[in-house]
Symmetry: D2
Subunit: 142 residues, 4 copies
Amino acid sequence: MPETRSAYPVWRTITTRWMDNDVYGHVNNVVYYSWFDTAVNAWLIEQGVLDIHGGSTIGLVIETQCNYFASLAFPQTVEAGIRVARLGNSSVRYEVGLFAQDEENAAAQGHFVHVYVDRQTRRPVPLPSALRAALEKLMVPV
Amino acid sequence: MPETRSAYPVWRTITTRWMDNDVYGHVNNVVYYSWFDTAVNAWLIEQGVLDIHGGSTIGLVIETQCNYFASLAFPQTVEAGIRVARLGNSSVRYEVGLFAQDEENAAAQGHFVHVYVDRQTRRPVPLPSALRAALEKLMVPV
Amino acid sequence: MPETRSAYPVWRTITTRWMDNDVYGHVNNVVYYSWFDTAVNAWLIEQGVLDIHGGSTIGLVIETQCNYFASLAFPQTVEAGIRVARLGNSSVRYEVGLFAQDEENAAAQGHFVHVYVDRQTRRPVPLPSALRAALEKLMVPV
Amino acid sequence: MPETRSAYPVWRTITTRWMDNDVYGHVNNVVYYSWFDTAVNAWLIEQGVLDIHGGSTIGLVIETQCNYFASLAFPQTVEAGIRVARLGNSSVRYEVGLFAQDEENAAAQGHFVHVYVDRQTRRPVPLPSALRAALEKLMVPV
């Protein structure tokens, strides 16, 4: 069932692109996942807790999932709500809802799981404390 | 747990692209889903049961999911194994395993669910019989 | 030489995506062209002169070109300036400049040429008068 | 004018993807450039003269261009012919022709210019001698 906007504490705006539409005239299902990555990582970078170029810790994706309820299409603008559903020692489950403007119900919603690893060894490491503190802001009370 | 090659009856070869690699030097998680679509739809078109331009029935994706076990990177070639796990009246669950060449274990595996709808009304329709017959070839005995 | 903002009469804002960055940490050169299409077609749709689903006339791209002066990177927001440099009987040369926010000089600039054709026959047709009127607004005095 | 296959000394095979097709049912013009990068860089990597992860020299794209003569569409397989048209002190002009299978004339052809720079300083450097030797194999006698 599609969630409503109140399920997400933080929001990002994403512009669609001509190429996002596939031959059936709507955004291809694959593109939604690029918006998941985009919404979460942009927020982490702006919070100052993700340095994609020099940081010693990087997030590797081990699982992704999405349900689609209503189509989106270029040139619509998309609003992405993000939250953290589980915060482990070295992993995080991010959940994202994608909404058309002025729509109360999600057009699609899903999640991805990041395991944070050392950039060199690619072995899991505990979440850096600044990252953990930022992620706590994304947690929604059950 | 990653599956092995014997879990998939039909195979497609996919070439990676420079752009598939993200800033961490491996194929971005989003790209895997473009390979799911590609492997299944190419096979359906070659079987003569999917006409993306003129067909009256089109497949809409309502759910996708993927688990990632090992990284892939350009310029590797990827082998996609496909199967049908569930064949309903108007919906199909496709499962796809992605393998590096000469690797016995999947680097990633996942699924997507197509609901087949009328191109104009976008209402579910029974699977055309030729499509159903083709899909039965993708079913794996439990 | 990079142009300045005054060279473009109409503007669109485009959000970058995580996937846009390639392994060298900057937006891949290919992505810039997806922004060309996006900026121009979104504007045409909003002007009511392009109906990508039902219109009888569609624009086919016959030539594209881009020069790159400075890198752009996710999560930057990009501002695209658009103009029409040549308006023929059935073809249009669009020119696009891509700017980082608060930058006066283009990070990249280029063009694409659309030939307008009948959707069915794919033969060139004269520009519809409403489209031509809209495009005249994008022309810059020499 | 489209070139023929004899204009290109080295070839790569590229598989199209479902997402490559845009709403008009043919490969979007942007995608062709991802094939340019892919064909050239894959060949360089296989020749052992490009190390995208650890090499001290990287190629930055400063110009790209493409002409389109005939459409391509998923699920076609594309054959990319590559050659070097100009080999400077620190820059290279690569030219690429894209052909449908069994077609003698290019569906599209274009070029991109790489300036080779130091990975850290991003300042131009002379082409490493191994890279230069490999590129000479791509030059076509005038």
